[in-house]
Symmetry: C2
Subunit: 547 residues, 2 copies
């Protein structure tokens, strides 16, 4: 396949590893652990994987050795920059301990394990039909090496199909690279394989650009760094354009359905006039008109200074975090399930929902009622929140103008960024971090661990100070209601309003709203000075500094 | 103002200059020139600026000297990466010849000259209200240093207002940085100032990301390189996502109303499945359904191989290049001017236009009839061509499925990139090229030239082989009909179907359509190996190689 000049140059990059992996290594075990909540329930569900110690790798005289077996790897869920480096770190880690150990990649996500679709990942391809050259994928973005998928590993029938193929291929360990749900399922699988005494270990790796897989153990999920830097690059470019043309308000929606970490991080990197944080909207029970009015007020205040331009960041999931919109959507789902006539359904809305519905621009109201999924539900992800807000701010400003409270011109442009960042080539941070996660996973396997997540800590320091660790996945679990039933899950990390990143936004946003404080981060650099190329995200730096 | 790490590091970059400007320099004059067409008319309109020779600067013993006067600079039209470097090159060029020479920037585009709005550009700010620090803007994107505007310099009353302020500020030369129209107007201004014996010289600089300001003299306009690289970065990222998720067709619209150079260049950099070129559509008189069907055929062919994903590039101006759409829009403009009822107007469309209108998805048909500008005209720029094509391809595929000609899933996602690239920090190429254009403009001024465009040639070679030149703007002119009257203008360079860049697309597109040949260029690099950082555009490389 044809390659860009950057791909060719970047292939030669040797990702950095924690010091522990530079020579020999020894495993150090900590104390027994407990889950973050619901200890009794979790312990009962995970008798074999509960309570295990946190482990760390330390420098020692000799390398670990690995039994003569093979390893399988699975990519699960949405793409995140660095997935290929987890796999190349895993590959190199295995080979460093066992030259004969093979790495198999299951194709298209967890379904590859169930359906027995796989390829060997190697650096010596002799048959392109069954083998993939790992060297083609080092330091590249994307999950195209083996593909990903959203099949959930939840049923014992699936687990048993996994045993079949592992036995056939001599696989004694699986590495599952995924988000919170995939890591929860990795632990369920580990538990099952231990109960069944299959001898198959399972290790998880923390992936997601959304940044919502983090806790006292996980400092950051991989991909968040790169994705936020790509979004901040284009946001910064749009800001410079806004500040040059001085005639548009850009409303930029950013990927991230359930958490606003991406929007918040991009705001800290670029200093927009406004950044909406869904978690704040929900917690303060803000209404749609409160949000619209606060934007309109900023537009008017800037217009009063002659600045008819600005930038607003909007998290993708906002709509569902606005309590009254959430109620409206639920009512519509219920009504439209039994009533095909939209007008009749709307007539039956509660008084408050009806008034919210009637405040919506026509095109958005249509999206709410006409575009339903096969189950008859409103397709919230199709709602163009950025256009909704532009229309409503326009209407609000017209009213303010009539009242003499606004003098200016308002012209809004909408953008949505998501797919631009999920498969970018990993930043130095993600390249090193992911490679280390994979290399570390190989060492956890060699140490006989299962039900562990591969973790790297101390990530705001230079990589030789990074700590390679393994944390029992059960330690991060609690019980939550999912589809009506209580399930053990890793708690999703939403933006905390008393956390350092949000406080940083809160401290500055009044000034950013009125003045033009834009910062232009520019594109990710791979070769330049360290202070440019190796910066962690503001979120990570602030959170670690606050510890 | 707060700065990103990259901005701080990049500020120290010293842009490269042609060898001629490293030491002393001498002006070499060529033969008398003629305009590219309509010689008699152009000569009559430009008695003082017609027929002047092309000039080049060559290495010599001594530097040029500059009289003790000041210079003014104007940014005109849409933003393009590198504008700040033209100004910093101009500033350094002036100072290298006359330490006392001041540079004034007129604010907000040509209107700043007319309305006498200006700031001094200096490296020693003593009064922030009247002075701008040039060092804050070196190697940065945007036009925010002095702002830009779209006021056209066409009337003698405007020119006279310019004389007033130039006399007041001791300005003996103006540099106008703009596209084809702005450079035409720069020449009209130069001619007027010569006729009036004002002693004010006027020099133009070739700017536009659209790439349509080029000819036998101009190799490329500045900003095209950087903008196309930014768009190619995000297109490549989306491609890698498409190839990883394997479930979406991405329809990506790219800025460029009148020419498809941007879409074509991005296609050559990234190898999408399909790239539509407006000029081909117009020349081959393609219909909307031909375009839709050809996309649907590629979708079906890829689906037959199990690939339900792909990428389509669409030039922003496409709609107006489809002959039947152009006719429809004209008919609607005429009908809606006298008929406010949309249905009644549609009923009066010609048979062919009516059938085209009826083939459009409802939302697009609405945009065509409801969203009109203050003159009652259809707002073509608001038409979401990417969504139009997705909807129509979906409809076509449903028909093909019914006929048994298509088996697969089609899910389309639309994107529009434009504002992301216009103000990006200039690539090394644009940083060097723009700085050289500005430095060269100072030397043209010192040589007493007026009605010239500052040009750098031999741009695919390393910068020490670049040739610094001045070309009479009249040489690039012909007469064209504008708003009903014949006007002298610089001919706009559209994509030529027998040009090397288009031929390269043509040679490869059958393969790119069916197979996945994506290339992932990644972000612009400023510090890495030269083969990564200093690549010219494919368009420029192919065109120069073909010469």
């Amino acid at each position: 396949m044809a390659k860009s000049a950057l791909q060719i140059a970047r292939a030669a990059y040797q990702p950095k590893l924690p010091k522990a992996f530079k020579g020999g290594v020894a495993l150090k075990e900590g104390k027994a652990t407990e889950s973050v909540a619901n200890q009794a329930e979790i312990k009962e569900l995970f008798p074999n994987t509960y309570g295990m110690p946190v482990v760390t790798f330390e420098e020692a005289a000799a390398k670990l050795s690995m039994g003569d077996f093979n390893v399988g790897v699975i990519l699960s869920g949405g793409q995140a920059p660095g997935g290929h480096n987890v796999i190349s770190g895993l590959f190199d880690g295995i080979k460093s301990m066992n030259k004969n150990g093979k790495l198999y990649g299951f194709l298209g996500g967890p379904s590859g394990l169930i359906d027995h679709q796989y390829m060997e990942i190697t650096d010596k391809v002799t048959d392109a039909k069954t083998q993939i050259d790992i060297n083609e994928y080092r330091n590249t973005g994307g999950f195209d090496i083996i593909g990903s998928g959203r099949t959930k590993l939840e049923e014992t029938a699936q687990f048993d199909k996994g045993i079949e193929i592992c036995n056939k291929l001599g696989i004694k360990a699986l590495v599952i690279i995924g988000g919170d749900d995939s890591n929860t399922n990795a632990c369920v699988l580990a538990e099952y394989y231990l109960q069944k005494k299959t001898g198959i270990q399972v290790i998880g790796c923390p992936k997601t650009i959304d940044g919502d897989l983090k806790n006292s153990q996980i400092e950051t999920s991989f991909g968040f760094d790169t994705a936020c830097k790509v979004y901040s690059e284009v946001i910064g470019n749009i800001m410079r354009d806004a500040n040059s043309a001085k005639k548009y308000w850009h409303f930029i929606k950013l990927m991230g359905r359930s958490a606003s970490h991406i929007a918040l991080e991009c705001a800290l990197q670029t200093q927009p006039n406004i950044c909406i944080v869904s978690e704040e909207v929900e917690q303060k029970k803000m209404t749609l008109s409160q949000i619209v009015n606060s934007i309109a007020d900023a537009v008017a205040a800037r217009a009063a200074q002659g600045n008819n331009f600005g930038v607003v960041l909007i998290p993708e999931g906002l709509i569902e975090f606005i309590p009254e919109m959430n109620v409206l959507i639920k009512e519509l789902n219920d009504l439209l399930a039994v009533e095909s006539d939209v007008k009749a359904a709307v007539a039956k809305l509660s008084a408050n929902s009806k008034s919210v519905y009637e405040s919506l621009p026509e095109a958005i109201a249509k999206q709410l009622t006409l575009e339903r999924d096969p189950h008859g539900n409103v397709q919230v992800s199709l709602i163009e929140t950025e256009k909704l807000l532009i229309e409503m701010v326009k209407t609000r400003l017209a009213a303010m103008k009539a009242e003499g409270k606004y003098v200016g011109k308002f012209s809004g442009l909408g953008h949505f960024f998501g797919y631009e960042g999920r498969c970018a080539a990993p930043s130095n941070f993600d390249a090193d971090y992911c490679y280390s996660l994979g290399y570390n996973a190989a060492n956890l396997i060699a140490s006989g661990k299962s039900g562990y997540m591969s973790l790297i800590k101390n990530t705001t320091k230079s990589s030789d100070q990074w700590i390679a660790a393994g944390v029992p996945i059960t330690m991060m679990m609690n019980m939550e209601k999912r589809h009506g039933a209580m399930k053990p899950v890793i708690r999703k990390a939403l933006v905390e309003l008393d956390g350092a990143p949000f406080k940083e936004l809160e401290k500055n946003r009044a000034e950013w709203a009125i003045n033009t404080c834009f910062v232009y981060p520019g594109p990710i650099q791979y070769f330049g000075p360290s202070e440019v190329c190796d910066l962690p995200t503001k979120t990570l730096a602030l959170e670690q500094a606050a510890k």
